[in-house]
Symmetry: C2
Amino acid sequence: MQYSSKVLENAIHEIAKLPGIGRRTALRLALHILRQSPEEMHLLSDAIRVLVDDVMYCKNCHNLSDSDICGICADQTRDRETLCVVEDIRDVMAIEQTGQYKGLYHVLGGLISPMEGIGPGELTIQSLVSKIESGEIKEVIFALSSNMEGDTTTFYIFKRLNNPDLTVSTIARGLAVGDALEYADEITLGRSLQHRVPYENSTR
Amino acid sequence: MQYSSKVLENAIHEIAKLPGIGRRTALRLALHILRQSPEEMHLLSDAIRVLVDDVMYCKNCHNLSDSDICGICADQTRDRETLCVVEDIRDVMAIEQTGQYKGLYHVLGGLISPMEGIGPGELTIQSLVSKIESGEIKEVIFALSSNMEGDTTTFYIFKRLNNPDLTVSTIARGLAVGDALEYADEITLGRSLQHRVPYENSTR
């Protein structure tokens, strides 16, 4: 498509590189940007630049942070003997939202995926292993996605830990709360049966 | 939701102001931005800033432009006696894509809409009327959306023109090429019948 302005064309070109945004949506966004006050849109432009330039990763857990050590790792009231291993920072947010977990996290930054060329070296696995070897951690909980990449990554890390004093668990798989039994797939339902919980614990 | 970084939270807040982008999509986009090279993402931030600061509107037709007069208005090979009135610059692009129109444009910048508080004063109607009164234009073609706002705007401008020497037309309404007759709504089909064209012209 022909644009009447090079400036517009360039903006569309850059916006359309974002995932899930095609050239038509990019044009709509660019026209929206032009209808706003310049001050408002400088805020957007600056927010992106500051995000790129100023964001830091926690040296301990690799979560996004505004300082060297993130708020969760710095919080001395949390259980420092339990470590939850997750794929990325969205998972930290999701688990924090539940209010059910008071330990620390370790953000891998991805999952092992030979198909996408992501090996253990691309992830923060070495830092995880060193942290556990240093001895403060008593339990490691794997909270990775339930797919081939997630299972591979869990298995790889489990093999590397190799410490009989360490409790290693994964989050439970089963029917979602509110799900109808008849629509559940057989693997999920199978695991739900296999890992059934005593009734007196089931609603806690 | 709690974010571990103020910088991230601010970026999400600004991105989520864009139309059609909620906080969850904004988070996904922000994490995508963090995975790219800083240079790439400075291009995005700069493209938005340059768009806001440097874009110009053609003094003649109000189309987006890189200079005072846009490429279409400056093109002396175009038919300068025909003027097509459109709502916004996307319509100019759509009509240019057809390759069927060689005249000039006038971009209104919106449609009259009492519901949204947009009156004739918010649009470039005065500039359109002055341009037509200056006398070079022989035909005005209204190419506005086929809804209440579009019809109101066309009617308002038509009344203001009030010049017996001027040919005024609107683009044809009817079944889209490829449409099945049985699924057409009755108003469209009615207009299609009313404005039927001689068969020898119909495929030109």
